[in-house]
């Protein structure tokens, strides 16, 4: 069953897109990440123009983040003040990101830069997560207690000027750390089409040392605003948000996320993190391999109707 995408200007198999949305939604329900880092490369493999894939994925992540935040909000697990500062940084990052994206598009290297940033980011995050979670699992097998959480210990980023109290996170730290973190995530969202949850969550736990219970809700909260501004910036800047595509992905994603969340209850935190780490690493390796092998088609064509900006 084919459906025509008005902005991508091509027809795609409707079941394939729903299935992709479902599979990625399953991952996001299972691991508490947006799933953009899997979805964008998948869409590009399908033949959707990279710009449309990035912009529409950013749009779709809004839906899954909103439904996630609602659940966390009911349990009072969202630090709105922290989320606000992350968001302010994130919107600034998204603004700079769209300029970088347009520059890369003109230079013809956007595909390469997107792929390279994915490889670097995914292999770093995946490697760290795998190391950490496997360590916890092995220690548990040997019956050793896991090391005490390092909360209360202050890193240098906490002592920068402009300190502020975050009641829900039980922190009194400088706003520069979260601001810069938000900025980097905003940058990633517009350039790579990812929500940034898979970077934000570990960074909030290990760098900002927020309590784990507040982290996911707060990260989803800031992702809503950053992906919303990325959607708007892409709609204006690159005109490549395809609402038919993001709508289909959202339908599949919502159903998949519910299934994932139910399945996730059966697994422990370390097992989940180890599985996510493996998936992240596999994608990184696949992308890196793709860059080093001679492509089937060395020529690529991009066209623009005369008279369009």
């Amino acid at each position: 069953m084919q459906i025509y995408l008005p902005i991508a200007e091509m027809s795609v198999n409707i079941l394939l897109i729903l299935g992709m949305g479902g599979a990625v939604g399953f991952l996001s329900g299972l691991f508490g990440v947006g799933g953009g880092f899997v979805l964008t490369p998948l869409l590009i493999f399908t033949g959707i123009p990279p710009t449309v894939a990035v912009a529409s994925t950013a749009n779709q992540i809004i839906a899954s983040s909103v439904s996630g935040v609602v659940a966390h909000w009911r349990r009072k697990q969202v630090d709105f003040k922290m989320g606000g500062i992350l968001t302010a940084g994130g919107i600034a990052g998204a603004l700079i990101g769209i300029l970088i994206f347009k520059y890369l598009e003109r230079s013809g290297q956007s595909g390469l830069v997107i792929a390279l940033s994915y490889v670097v980011l995914l292999s770093t995050v995946g490697g760290l997560m795998l190391y950490e979670s496997v360590g916890v699992i092995l220690r548990a097998r040997r019956g050793e207690p896991s090391p005490a959480p390092k909360s209360g210990q202050h890193l240098w980023i906490h002592h920068l000027p402009l300190r502020m109290r975050f009641r829900r996170s039980r922190l009194y730290i400088s706003v520069i750390g979260p601001g810069v973190l938000g900025f980097l995530v905003g940058l990633m969202t517009t350039v790579m089409g990812v929500g940034g949850g898979f970077v934000l969550v570990p960074a909030m736990i290990y760098l900002l040392q927020m309590p784990t219970s507040v982290v996911i809700g707060t990260s989803l909260f800031q992702i809503i605003f950053v992906t919303a501004s990325a959607t708007l910036l892409h709609a204006v800047g690159t005109k490549s948000v395809d609402v038919v595509l993001s709508g289909l992905l959202a339908v599949g994603g919502v159903i998949g996320a519910q299934a994932g969340a139910r399945f996730g209850v059966k697994l422990s935190g370390e097992q989940l993190r180890a599985m996510l780490a493996v998936i992240v690493l596999v994608i990184a390796i696949r992308l890196a391999y793709g860059l080093t092998v001679q492509p089937d088609e060395i020529f690529s064509l991009s066209t623009m109707a005369v008279g369009e900006p």
């Binding site: 809004i62 390469l112 959607t231």
Partner: protein
Amino acid sequence: MRNVRRVCVLMTAALALLSVPCRADGLVTALSQNVVRISTDFTGSQIILFGAIERYSLPVLGQATQPNRPPKPARADIAVVVTGPPQDAIIRRKGRVGAIWMNVASANFKNIPSYYLAAATAALEDIAPPDALDDQGIGLRHLALQPASATPGEAKGLRDALVGLKTEAGLYTDLTGPPVKGTARGQGIHISGNTLFSLKIPLPPDAPVGTYEVKVFLMQEGVIVPSTPQVQYFYLRKSGFERWAYKHAMTNPVLYGLAAIVLMVAAGFGASAMFRKV
């Protein structure tokens, strides 16, 4: 002959039922449709060009030299060129740099046809002088496709690659030339009874939206008959929601972006409300 005339009458009647036929000296043509609509289930389409010639006779394959036949009207040939809305294109070539493959060469084309199809009833060089073919862009090898800028030394290779990619996508088609076994060459124009012809114009799913121009040339004794080409147009349009969404994405990007956000926020709230009850 009588049979032919009857077919001709029928055909003319059929032409009258189609879009407004176009008439020039010795040539009548019509398109099966003037508007092709792209709706949600669009997977490509096809337009048919019909035509009849008067006073001349079209060549029928394998029938060119048959003795003992009543003298026929002078032979004429037909060439058809279809072009889609103009576009700018950038073609890039990947090359190995260190360990990775990246774009290393590119060429910029301005105002090239997004869609191109050429067909003729005989080998082009036999029916018209080469400069006339170049002037009118009849046949892919006569189509002016010069890059506005290109990586030095790569212009020709990139032009050929552009034609190659467009051909693969079904956007560029060259059916001119003598029939070659196993290819589409020379298979384009269907002739019946020496005076009637038809041509299928396929539109692939990613054919760009806009105005398409169909030019029909009549060639006689090695020159293009001056009253031709006869030009007709058809329009490829998005319809319904596709048209609406595309239009707003292009003309009201802020509103479109906000709508896309609101839609997803609503979807998120809807989903959490729906699944909470389950």
